[in-house]
């Protein structure tokens, strides 16, 4: 089954890095947005199974975007992909309903772990 993956990050390099870490043997359909607002709009349109969300972004930050997405779809599975690993930042996004946090830079192992955990939830 092809999973729809939404990546929200203002850095095109960061999006590229994350995509390259996905297992090549699995089919994924990627969608990308460069800020939290564009990410929210794309989420409503695409309804991805998994969303990877950066936190520090222009226009709308990641925490606000998660909040909007979860209000729109309380079952949304959002993985925070961030360099901001302060406890307070991570606590806040978990309170907003993020599924887990992926620390930047991503690796094949960390992305596989995140996908495996997500699959368990998605069933």
């Amino acid at each position: 089954m092809t999973r729809k993956i939404l990546i929200v990050d203002d850095s095109p390099i960061s999006r590229r890095m994350l995509k390259s870490c996905f297992p090549k043997e699995q089919p994924y359909e990627f969608y990308e947005a460069g800020d939290g607002l564009a990410g929210f709009e794309l989420y409503k349109e695409v309804r991805p199974e998994i969303t990877f969300m950066d936190l520090t972004m222009p226009v709308m930050d990641g925490a606000t975007s998660i909040d909007e997405i979860r209000k729109f779809d309380p079952k949304a599975l959002v993985i925070v992909s961030t360099a901001d690993v302060q406890i307070k930042s991570l606590t806040r996004v978990m309170e907003l309903g993020a599924f887990m946090v992926l620390k930047k830079p991503p690796s094949k192992e960390s992305v596989l772990d995140a996908l495996t955990q997500s699959e368990e939830l998605l069933g």
Binding site: D10, S11, I13, S14, M57, A83, Q86, K88, P105
Partner: protein
Amino acid sequence: MEQEQTLLSEEERDILQEIMNIAFGQATADLTEIINVHVVLNVPYIKVLKAIDMPGYLKNELAGHEAISMVEQHFWGEFKGSAYLIFPAGAGKELVTIMGEGGGENEFESFMSDVMEKETLMEVGNILIGACVGKVAELLGDRVTYSPPRVAIENYATDSLPAEIFDLQASAIVLRTVFNFNERDVSGFLFLLTKYDSISWLKKSLVTFMEKYE
């Protein structure tokens, strides 16, 4: 503009910006383990300019702040240059309070308060610069050593920054990130200036870094 295009391509700038983002994220996490603050991060950016243009550039960047204090630390490795952590004047006192050290009323206590302010600026500078530069170097496969931090200028008028405080032979790949200490009205700016002879190493290392993500 011509120099900017020659030194770093757009993609190289994007990679360096992302590396800076990761590095400063790590640096703030290190700082918050030591002092009980939350640092609000902003999107970092990369700009290439001549070191001699730095004072003018900073004057624009710091518009609204009459005076600044600046902590300076040099670093050496394949990646070498200088890091500057800049705070608006008065930020030192706020940081002292954040770190739980109060100022005094009498002359001696006031003197000690000034000393404490300077020490605090250096300590915060040491942590943020060390962790940030160290992480940039690590991600690019390098190790660096550092000079001790020093307060290069203290409560200095922003509109009369002397050009000589910067190494005028350095290329200024300015890695700028702005941050705010949440719950306190303190913000700061971190700039890294890299030496010209680091550029070819930097360009190669950026390619190597991205090869892991092909």
